[in-house]
């Protein structure tokens, strides 16, 4: 486990050292990513068998160590993140070079640091450790978000840092200190550590602090940083804001729900219900806003906010189906969204277009890309043959089990909205008359590396539909 943290960190000085030889530098990143994925995969068998190894890193406070511990949810997150780092690195090579981006060394270096932080979040053994790596993640992604260095980037960076650090310092840290005082520990334990330590109202308040303190989950009203972060280069948006950063957020909430509060406690808390409504509102409102966005990345950003609401909802429902659904949704949404962002990126590089209205008829010129877009959209919507079907299925069962028919309705309506804001894009691209200069003059596809990455992630969406078994098995082990 320790190696999983150190491999990306070791890669950083190597990347910086190789800054004059781009091919060497990129190879370092690719090798590191492959190594990392291999390491994480090698940890899988232990976890499936029920082992829960742990490692203590340091002990800054007496009785409160910085510790790593392996469990199914963390493993799931780590697998997704490490695999997609590898793929994104492949994609980035195509994108950054095709787009002639500046400061590529800085980009790859901070990417590696961010991934190390993600590993730390995934493997955190207690809430404090998670908090530490959570903050490191925020800080290491700031240079990535503001990569362009323009005024717009700077302002976006302010919103990003302000919201994320603000919520984490004022709400999350307070919640963690309070938890420590109430329970005497912040260790993640199956069944939770908080039951019986305080009256329900207090625990409800604590839960609220946690949920709003995790700004990375983009729960309204602390969601503004996500659209703001779209100013970053697309690989950053793809990996970090469809996979690593936002997933770290919902992952944290899921962990808090399962391992700090425990399913039993969660179901009895009234506050949990109110927060479910907040999540539901986020799902709906974000979808509505997404429909009105013409900028492709902005639409995808709001779609992400909405999808994150699904995971939070499942975490708050805290019944077996809900938890499984959330965990699976972390995976399926990751693959789906990253594909969508990848497509957006190559469209930008190949045609310099960012607005959806400009993309009519683009399917003739970029067939592979738009096909991938179609499949990924199906995953997000939740239709076969894409993986999102299963995760939404289990979430729906979760709402039924909890007797929350209103929430079930929200899920249904939201899927309809998803269709409304996602499907038109590939459909118009293939079937509409071309707009502007989309004259069919031979294919004009994306750079090769990027295309390869897109194909792999699209296949991932399909694979998750046809072979959901391993994912389901891993997810259902959570909390044991």
């Amino acid at each position: 486990m320790l190696l999983a943290l150190t491999v990306p960190l070791v890669a950083v000085p190597l990347v910086v050292a190789a800054r004059r030889r781009p091919n060497l530098r990129e190879s370092v990143t690719l090798i590191a990513a492959t190594l990392l994925f291999g390491l994480v995969v090698s940890l899988a068998p232990q976890v499936m068998d029920g082992a829960r190894p742990a490692v203590i890193l340091a002990e800054p406070f007496p009785g409160l160590p910085l510790a790593l511990a392996l469990e199914p949810l963390g493993l799931l997150f780590a697998l997704i993140a490490s695999f997609l780092w590898l793929i994104t690195s492949v994609y980035s090579i195509g994108y950054m070079r095709g787009h002639k981006e500046q400061h590529q060394t800085r980009f790859y270096a901070y990417f590696a640091i961010a991934l190390a932080a993600v590993m730390g979040v995934a493997f955190a053994g207690n809430m404090l450790t998670l908090f530490v790596f959570y903050e490191v993640l925020t800080l290491s992604t700031y240079p990535l978000v503001t990569h362009a260095g323009t005024d717009q980037a700077r302002r976006a960076g302010r919103v990003y840092l302000g919201l994320l650090l603000g919520t984490s310092i004022v709400f999350l840290l307070l919640a963690i200190a309070w938890t420590w005082l109430l329970a005497g520990t912040t260790d993640f334990t199956p069944g939770g550590i908080l039951s019986g330590t305080a009256p329900a109202a207090t625990l409800g308040l604590l839960l609220t602090l946690y949920v709003f303190g995790v700004g990375k989950a983009a729960l309204m009203p602390f969601h503004r940083w996500l659209p703001a972060a779209m100013v970053a280069p697309t690989p950053v948006s793809a990996l970090l804001h469809a996979v690593a950063v936002v997933k770290a957020g919902v992952f944290t909430i899921l962990k808090v729900s399962v391992y700090l509060f425990g399913s039993g406690l969660m179901i009895t808390l009234v506050a949990s219900q109110w927060l479910q409504y907040v999540a539901a509102a986020t799902i709906l409102l974000a979808s509505l806003v997404a429909m009105r966005q013409d900028n492709l990345k902005a639409r995808l950003a709001y779609s992400t906010i909405s999808q994150l609401g699904y995971v939070v909802l499942g975490a708050l429902l805290a019944n077996a189906a809900g938890i499984v659904g959330s965990a699976m949704h972390i995976a399926t949404h990751a693959f789906g969204k990253i594909t969508l962002f990848f497509c957006a990126g190559v469209i930008l590089v190949a045609t310099h277009k960012t607005e959806i209205s400009q993309m009519r008829g683009l399917g003739r010129r970029m067939p592979i890309t738009m096909m991938a877009f179609l499949i990924a959209s199906l995953s997000i919507i939740g239709l076969p043959p894409a993986g999102g079907t299963w995760s939404k299925w289990y979430l729906a069962i979760g709402t039924l089990e909890a007797g929350q028919l209103a929430l079930l309705a929200v899920l249904m309506i939201s899927s309809l909205l998803n269709i409304a804001y996602l499907l038109p894009i590939p459909l118009h691209a293939f079937f509409s008359a071309p707009s502007g200069d989309n004259v069919p003059g031979g294919t004009y596809e994306a750079p090769l590396f990027s295309l390869a990455a897109i194909i792999i992630t699209t296949l991932g969406c399909l694979v998750l539909f046809f072979y959901p078994g391993p994912l389901y098995q891993l997810a259902s082990q959570i909390g044991r």
């Binding site: 910085l66 530490v132 903050e135 490191v136 650090l165 004022v170 840290l173 307070l174």
Partner: protein
Amino acid sequence: MQLGQHLPILQVVIPLLSAPLCLLLRNGRLAWMFTLAVSWLVLAGAVWLLLQVLAHGTVSYALGTWPAPWGIEYHLDHVSAFVLLIVSGISAVVLPFAGKSVAREIPADRVSLFYTLYLLCLTGLLGIVITGDAFNLFVFLEISALSSYALISQGRDRRALTASYHYLILGTIGATFILIGVGLLYMMTGTLNMQDLAARLPAVTDTRTVRTAFAFLVVGISLKLALFPLHLWLPNAYTYAPSVVTAFLAATATKVGVYVLLRFVFTIFGAAFAFQAMSLGPILLVLALLAIFNASTVAIFQDNLKRMLAYSSVAQIGYMVLGISFASLTGLTAGILHLFNHALMKGALFLALGAVFYQLGTVQLTQLRGLGRRMPWTMAAIVIGGLSLVGVPLTVGFISKWYLILAALESGWWPVAVLVLLGSLLAMVYIGRLVETAYFHAPPEDDREVREAPLSMLLPIWTLILANLYFGIDTSLTVGVARQAAALLLGVSP
């Protein structure tokens, strides 16, 4: 008669005697190296003394073998040893930096005089911490204060003179208040020895004299440690003083002030009298919170970076006093811990600013545009120091914040915990401004060749920064000593 036995007095005597010797060394470089040697010697002594205290408990030394309470006694417990380490440590790190910095900022014929003053200041600060006699404390206080006034006035800007003058007036009033307080205490108990005072005071605490003495002492000490609203001398003094002076004083003088407060309130008067009879807790709490918010907010609007950090210092002192106002074990631990942590943070930041001043000749924010590219190591140090101020995990700032919040929650004052965290957000704003300017803007048009700071400056800066990070992860030393010190002051077991 081993030398080690006399270490407490040597800690003060060595720098004291070195000062006139330094005066004789006309050569600036020689004076610097001499001061450096003395400072490192003192640091070694401080470390040795801390180890003694940790192993054997309090160290007591009677001057001239006159027994206490008739003679003057030097009394070292955990708090003293800790602050001693801070003062000598900071001095040892700042002096290597000073070589080049002082050579540039002070006229050549006055450099040896500068170091003489520095040694006197060091003597004063060390003496305050070691002594166990109330009047002796006043004497050392004045020694350090007078030399500080002189040091501050050495700044190149003429406003250094007026800043020094105002500090002189306010500081002398403060010191005189302390003198009155000590006098009144002497009137009631007939002794000046701190331990003896602590033993005799409970019998007479119900008198108006003692209460007045308490009031005078607290106000006088608050002036010295720049507690809101008696902080008005600090921004100007820190802004216009030479870089080395600012770095040294920011990291030591106010810490020693807090130490004096702890000594008088907890050891001499006792927590029961101070917090129950005189309700010191709420007063300190309110003033501390006002300090944090007022100073942090003002800091956001400053263009001169030294002034910005000076206001930040006032806010940080607020945090220390906040911890103390809880009068609980955790609260006191937090306050004492922050003494150490803030010394590391501010020491590093002011040294880094000194390096910027050395290369750039200015510390106006607008002039620092694009500096992240041209002085990468210095700016990186400032970023990390800034993150420490905000309280990001893995830095010492986080450790202090954690204990403060914990103390607030333990005492049931959860709104205070929220306020502490909001204060961090304010720090985020003014650090954010600095980071943005340095990294996001293009350098100004009059692009003189600005290179990275010399190694002799970078090494001390990075030593403090790495210490920031190290003690943010391995806190066994700092938290351990702070906790024991707090326990001792409160009279409970750690």
